[in-house]
Amino acid sequence: MSSSAAPIIAQGLVRHFGSGDGAIRAVDGVDLSVAEGEIFGFLGPNGAGKSTTVRMLTTLLTPTAGSARVAGFDVVTQANDVRRSIGVALQDAAIDPLMSGRELLNLQAVLYGINPASVKARADELLERVGLTEAAERRVGTYSGGMRRRLDLALSLIHQPTVLFLDEPTTGLDPMSRITLWEEVRRLNREGTTVLLTTQYLEEADQLADRVAIIDHGLIVRQGTPAELKAGIGAPTLIIAVAAHVSQTAAAVLAPFGEMRPTAEGTLGVGLAGGSKAVAEVVRALDEAGIELHHLELHEPSLDDVFAEATGHRLEGAGDAGPKTEDDAAPKPEKGRRKRR
């Protein structure tokens, strides 16, 4: 598919907050092209610029520089056309807790100018689709986090958008709710909806996205299919834990086996240039140096390795698909934006 027909195209997208020396460069020149029918994952930690990019693409923020077209329309000069064409589920599932699910769907239908005669059927269809038929008349304030997210998704679909933006759709959800939402996103995509989703969860990007862009400090540092990105890393990562006082010696022993890679504190990581068969040699070398191994594990390349290789640090909660329960991780606003250099 040619990029001119891509439902989402961004070129040199920049967004600063503030001005002068104190300006915060939240997004620092993002280029991306999402093909029709694709699920595109925007992966990065809090404060990387994911939500700011989505807010520009959904017309909620004006770019400081650069341009973007969504569904064929310019996000600045044809903002209302963009809004009519897209569905948006923002971070935190901002839903009025005083209204019922059905009332919110009815309101959303009016906001999009949907023919009143078709609203009830459409609302019923969406409520059934997201499993909220029985809760439809209840106030949203009584919904669980997962139910709110599902309603949020239904609201974003009321006008049958061709392009769907999901900003951290599973943040704060328990594993079951997360999987349910993934299934629904896949189903929508099979029906032809182009999806751009942001996430800070590696597994989510790996499982769900056809292509992934890794963003850090407002810049896309890698882009491709998960398989391509992992293949680009090449060597598997060997992670060891040793006593702190022999850590430097251990690093020296590991160095000849490949490039050192960032790992969690208290561990050392090396990309084994010789592949997994080099593990035995590493163990022998450490033993000969008199270093006692406390822990050893071998990782085939993951998106976290790609992220670490590209940025020099790992994602928060790396290796995890996210919090185990809703209480483990409340949705966090973007923080730590980079100051102008």
């Binding site: 909620l60 897209i86 935190d92 906001l111 949907i114």
Partner: protein, 272 residues
């Protein structure tokens, strides 16, 4: 090439769709008020409490020079009680808008192709409905205690309309504050200012009984003029001047406050 094929979204905004959107937003505001009794009840109870206090403490004050001829202090104070309730109620509307901004619901609205003005007007229409309801509620609640409307049923209708217009006028100010700050705490912080504005006005005593700086402040205080328009209908009767004052003074203040709110909305959207 345009790819947009969302089959259900209206292709373009029309006057009819804007009105429909404003009405839908208005209903949402009204439902929100009705569904939060803990927020609403104080703005209904406190003015009645003041009315009871005034009736027991100041009934003989109606004989003072400068007081209009009234059957009871309650007749005189009704307009003040209504304006008191409406002013406090307007804080609730502004707070609700600020809460929408804080929770992100405002962004949901902005991400849709709905008219931006509808978002604001819907909120103000909710305030107007509640203001009209408050005017009717206070009047009916105090009637068993001797309150009567000299202007009759038509006068009562004008009082209700005046309450709605006053609510819109002050709702415009609190909406502007909500749009400027995006903080429900900041909007609630205006409550003491409204309280001061109320007590430095002719809400509970006629300006003719005041002296010095207090009188000067009351003379220029818009709240005095809001109260007096409505009071004329209650204690004097149905005259063109009283109807005009009851409706045009709040309408003029509303024109200022709504313009301010629209400009604040515009600058908020422009700064995004």
């Amino acid at each position: 090439m345009n790819l947009a094929t969302s089959p259900l979204a209206s292709p373009a905004a029309t006057t009819h769709s804007r009105l429909t959107q404003t009405w839908a937003m208005s209903k949402r505001s009204i439902f929100a008020i009705a569904r939060q009794p803990a927020l609403v009840v104080p703005s209904l109870i406190f003015p009645l409490f003041f009315a009871a206090l005034g009736a027991s403490a100041f009934n003989k004050a109606t004989a003072l020079p400068g007081f209009p001829r009234v059957d009871s202090f309650l007749d005189f104070a009704l307009a003040g009680n209504i304006v008191q309730g409406v002013l406090f109620g307007s804080v609730t509307g502004g707070t609700a808008l600020a809460t929408d901004i804080e929770l992100g619901f405002f962004d949901r609205l902005l991400a849709s192709p709905t008219s931006r003005v509808s978002i604001l007007l819907g909120r103000l229409a909710g305030a107007a409905a509640f203001g009209g309801f408050q005017a009717l509620f206070f009047t009916l609640a105090l009637m068993p205690f001797g309150v009567s409307i000299a202007a009759g049923p038509v006068g009562l209708l004008v009082v209700v309309l005046s309450g709605a217009t006053i609510a819109t006028a002050f709702g415009g100010f609190t909406a502007a504050m909500a749009l400027k700050t995006g903080s429900s705490e900041a909007v609630q912080g205006s409550f003491p200012l409204l309280f001061i504005a109320l007590f430095f006005s002719s809400a509970f005593f006629p300006r003719e009984t005041m002296r010095g700086n207090y009188r000067t402040i009351a003379d220029v205080n818009p709240v005095s003029h809001l109260v007096e328009g409505m009071r004329g209908l209650v204690v004097e009767g149905l005259t063109a001047a009283n109807v005009a004052k009851a409706l045009l003074v709040p309408a003029a203040i509303g024109a200022v406050s709504i313009t301010l709110a629209l400009r604040t909305l515009s600058s908020r959207l422009a700064s995004r």
